[in-house]
């Protein structure tokens, strides 16, 4: 599973937020995590983005907290759905994959950043993440 690549951490070292995570969950560093419950994240999937995992978490390592970057520039993979224009807000669209936002996505809390460069289908490009 491809993960986000840090280009630049903004704010105060990426403004990490600490979330709860199930001990049984494995999360790779750079994974786009999904906000699934009260201050709780799960592995990457379509939905609301909680941030970019700042560290690896091994399944059943006893850890139930994980820090996630919320402010920075990251290389992220566009989905196969459509090209993304520069400056356009993006949403999570599958595991560690993004797509262009649609009307109404902002009110649903799905937009977590915008493209810093145009990205073709299945291409990786820089995204300004701010959650």
């Amino acid at each position: 599973m491809g993960v986000a690549v840090i280009i630049e951490l903004l704010g105060n070292k990426g403004d990490p937020i600490s979330y709860n995570v199930a001990d049984g969950t494995a999360i790779a560093k750079g994974e786009l995590v999904k906000l699934a419950d009260n201050r709780t994240i799960v592995t990457s999937a379509s939905g609301l983005c909680g941030g970019v995992a700042a560290a690896e978490k091994v399944a059943n390592d006893g850890q139930t907290q994980i820090a996630c970057y919320t402010n920075g520039i990251f290389d992220l993979l566009n989905s196969n759905a459509a090209a993304i224009g520069v400056g356009v807000p993006v949403i999570m669209d599958g595991a560690n994959t993004i797509s262009v936002s649609a009307n109404g996505d902002a009110e649903l809390g799905k937009c977590f950043g915008f493209a810093l460069a145009a990205a073709a289908k299945n291409a990786t490009e820089e995204v300004r993440v701010l959650i």
């Binding site: 704010g11 937020i17 906000l35 009260n38 201050r39 402010n71 009110e107 809390g109 937009c111």
Partner: protein, 137 residues
């Protein structure tokens, strides 16, 4: 005024405070949700559809001679729901005096979104909200 925000975590550079103009006659308790009501000028939040400028970083006593106030714009705060409750992950706006509510359709374009819920809150309940003023939607 009551129901002021409680700081959980200041993010960015000490909560990324912005200094605004405020009327000398206005009393502002620390933690008050302030609304932008004129050119870089704030007053107390009062109603749904107010545009949030930030959260008062310090108290201002009425008629103390001060006409500036710093407001946090980046952090995690405990805020009170306005009455209908809000759901984890969904954006929130001002819903009344020191109250927040879940965003309604079409509000993103109005510049009223001030952050999103980090936890689900029942009606009138205080919960953690990620406040980030100035984010693009």
């Amino acid at each position: 005024m009551g129901n002021e925000a409680i700081i959980v975590a200041l993010m960015g550079n000490g909560g990324d405070p912005i200094e605004y103009v405020v009327s000398d006659a206005t009393a502002v308790p620390k933690g008050t949700i302030l609304k932008l009501n004129d050119n870089q000028t704030v007053t107390l939040s009062a109603a749904d559809a107010d545009i949030c400028a930030g959260i008062a970083a310090h108290e201002k006593v009425a008629n103390d001679g001060a006409t500036k106030i710093a407001c946090y714009t980046n952090g995690i705060f405990k805020l009170k729901d306005a009455g209908a409750g809000f759901t984890v992950g969904l954006p929130v706006t001002i819903g009344g005096a020191n109250l927040v509510k879940q965003v309604a359709a079409g509000e993103a374009e109005g510049g009223t979104i001030m952050g999103f819920a980090l936890a689900t809150a029942g009606a009138g309940i205080v919960e953690e909200v990620r406040v980030l003023i100035g984010k693009r939607y």
